[in-house]
Symmetry: C2
Subunit: 571 residues, 2 copies
Amino acid sequence: MRTSQLYLNTLKEAPSEAELTSHKLMVRAGLIKKLGSGLYTWMPLGMRVLRKVEEIVRDEMNAAGAQELLMPTIQPAELWQETGRWALFGPQMLKIKDRHERDFCFGPTHEEVITDIARSELRSYKQLPVNMYQVQVKFRDEIRPRFGVMRAREFVMKDAYSFDADFAGLQVSYGKMYTAYSNIFTRLGLKFRAVAADTGAIGGDGSHEFQVLADAGEDILAYAPDSDFAANVELAEALAPTTPRAAPAEAMRDIDTPKQTTCEAVAELMGVGIERTVKLIALVGGEAEEFFVVLLRGDHTLNEVKLAKAVGGEFRFATEEEIRAVFNCPPGFLGPIGLDTDNISVIADRSVAVMSDFVCGANKPKFHIAGVNFGRDLPEPNAVADIRNVVSGDPSPDGKGKLELCRGIEVGHIFQLRTKYSEAMNATYVAEDGQPKFFEMGCYGIGVSRIVAAAIEQNYDERGIIFTQAMAPFALAVVAVGYHRSEAVKTAADQLYADLKAAGVDVLLDDRNERPGSMFADMELIGIPHRITIGDKGLADGLVEYVARAGGEMQKIALADAVSFARKQLA
Amino acid sequence: MRTSQLYLNTLKEAPSEAELTSHKLMVRAGLIKKLGSGLYTWMPLGMRVLRKVEEIVRDEMNAAGAQELLMPTIQPAELWQETGRWALFGPQMLKIKDRHERDFCFGPTHEEVITDIARSELRSYKQLPVNMYQVQVKFRDEIRPRFGVMRAREFVMKDAYSFDADFAGLQVSYGKMYTAYSNIFTRLGLKFRAVAADTGAIGGDGSHEFQVLADAGEDILAYAPDSDFAANVELAEALAPTTPRAAPAEAMRDIDTPKQTTCEAVAELMGVGIERTVKLIALVGGEAEEFFVVLLRGDHTLNEVKLAKAVGGEFRFATEEEIRAVFNCPPGFLGPIGLDTDNISVIADRSVAVMSDFVCGANKPKFHIAGVNFGRDLPEPNAVADIRNVVSGDPSPDGKGKLELCRGIEVGHIFQLRTKYSEAMNATYVAEDGQPKFFEMGCYGIGVSRIVAAAIEQNYDERGIIFTQAMAPFALAVVAVGYHRSEAVKTAADQLYADLKAAGVDVLLDDRNERPGSMFADMELIGIPHRITIGDKGLADGLVEYVARAGGEMQKIALADAVSFARKQLA
């Protein structure tokens, strides 16, 4: 396409409400335009990107044996009442009355509709497995839509649903989707991780999130650079240290800490590493309201999900009043020494359990104690468990190298729903033994429009977006400097453009009558990954210039070789 | 694809509520499935058809220089209030309140949104012309949705909007869309006509409907088989007869018509052609309530649109009381003789004006008169005009051959909106002279999902759908008879399937373990245009069978030639 034919409208300034880089850049590049709160038009340039993402998604879904269908966006309330989600979904669901005052919603997701289809269409085990998907606009009435298309109210989603005869079948279907998703994000050229995740509101058993790695992400992930391991930081296991506890070497002694109420401050005062300190957290658990404490290394943080699992139930933080009643000491100076361990359970994190000669609170105001040892100065903990968040440098739970932490943006989510929906909606098939059985279901979502924003969060610089080739609105820009005043430039540019198109290159010829700087800036802002510049000066020597958007030196190449050169760059 | 991998679920019986053939066949073939009133899921087989239509639409829109975008389906009420259509659109528009109780609608069309985009994005004449389109789900809350996807509430539409600097530009943009639409329907393989049309609710000046010809159509069209002329029957001009009026040859005489109150009955009684009779229709026009009459040939019908134009205003049919007051005679025996033509205007259709020796009512009960002549027996009419509907055999208004009548289904509509929306929303650009000017707009719709139903209405038989190659879910079916019991059939079928796929043929291999008759019936029902059958008997002689869905003899062809044969059929 020629820029003169393309609807291109870039802006110098981003709207003041845009907080996120991707939001700013998408508006400035003219990919999207706001219609209302959480409502965006995908302008022609953005639409090219969106459709490229869509087509890769379709391609991999089809390759995985899923079949595309299209369900209505408007769904009858009755189906949602069957699963109880009409009430549960809350105000995020856009509820609608039609002209006959019947209740409908603008579908935020389609489990109910697809299960309704399955229970009338899929009658026999012979028809299974089936996986159906759609690429569709969804609506979720976010209370505070923001971040552009990252958290819009109306957005494009790919949602797929699998139906299997049994759990083993579901696992096969789930595995195919896991692979398809990995293929999709790989083909899109994104750095991503599939992480084990909580299932959240959709319900069911196993689940993975696909996270595009980007500093602006809301989720913190732990991953192993040397392996496929990745998990939401809340779920990653902190392995037990392999080195055993050293024998006590120091005598216990009080440390005067008049103002030091944190491990950091105490370690700094003492001139020791914070990993030599232990902090105590006082908690109250269960219906019986039992007071208990946990011990963590000073540089670690409590993982409440893990602790809840370790204690087998819910708990809350103790109030200052409760703490003073037990310790007769204000928070900031608490420690495990002298505790009534017959009545107060002590749970130590795995890292704490192997410590010796450590520093902790003295249970008297303005004092800590150093040289503390389990067995000698206080009893062994009642329990040792993994109750902390992993940190960068922890060994990877899969035994392959060390963990790193990063932020991610969730762009895909796959769930093993099991029989949650089929039971609620009485969706059965006739099994091989002639008996009706509930479908084993999976559901698989991709935020198609969100991918574009996430990709930009991962790849941009001060000049604008850096699209990967698979997602770029055009793979290559030919910038013709002086197209409107130099016959030589015009002839060469038109010919190169025609040759590139004939070679199957997705090329944009910038044939505008603009200053070179402004043309370059536009091509950089909108993120075209490759650029060839044609100008009078180079042409005199039969040369054009090539530069990659992602960086690297500008190269002079022979005009005659430009097509083959470009094809090599794009390969 | 293999049938064993395809979600295929055909039905013997159509739902009882389905009135239209296309509705019945689409449900039976498993193309669509009902979710609720006017809400249909496009099942995988139907989705293949829908996406083929979509892609042809996109391809031709892009080729015409239009650019795809995607506007939100949910639109703020404020924009619709600017044009006044929030109130005007009525209950067909699905109105919605979001969680903050703000008013929105599920867009039935997008003139307001695109005009809002234009007024902020298109600032200079240098940016014009622009044509943008989207392929999107729309919702119109039909009071009685029926006919399946033909008149569904939720449907897929392609809507395009053009912005030009002046009317001449609009006409160019309009012409491009006219051509693009013609290309689309031609490529889809449909018999269609572009007809001049009234603009209806969308407003503006020029407009054409694109009608797929089918007996089930709601609209009646007049078209010239020898030319491009086509018009809605209400709008086609009935040319004035070229033969002049013959001189009177008969004397006036009363005809005893005791029970004959229609021209048909009188002509039958007299044994003359009905085209020798004249009927009088009594009307009351304008605010002044003036009584007037029109004369039509007995075999013609009044065209009220034309008459309103001829009299320059509105009119109504006279009541029997008013008729008796003027004629002193009951309806059924009225004629133009003896009328007080100073006070009662007589408008004759062009066909009547050239008649002589005609038959008409006698203005006395139970009598007609024959041998009546203008000038001799009654004054010349006060006016002669084209006030009738054309009939089959009328000369084409473009002078090329004769008209035929047929029924059509509207699948596309293009409008010259002019400045209706740009004025209402104050959408201007800066013209070359530096002055702000309103955009000249056009809008262009295609009922993408309706096309599928219309195509089926045009092409089906007692065995099911007959898809054109461009729209068929698969171009060619290979039916393997005995795939599961004959190694020879399995080997040959798998090889042919692989070879056809390698040759780029959109092929479906029916590898199910079903009776041959049931496999043939399914392939016929779902409308696959070409079929090759492989069975043990033919294979023994190295032969397979080919048959076209649209008809024609079954042909035996060498298995070795099957790929090249198929490619020729598909070319």
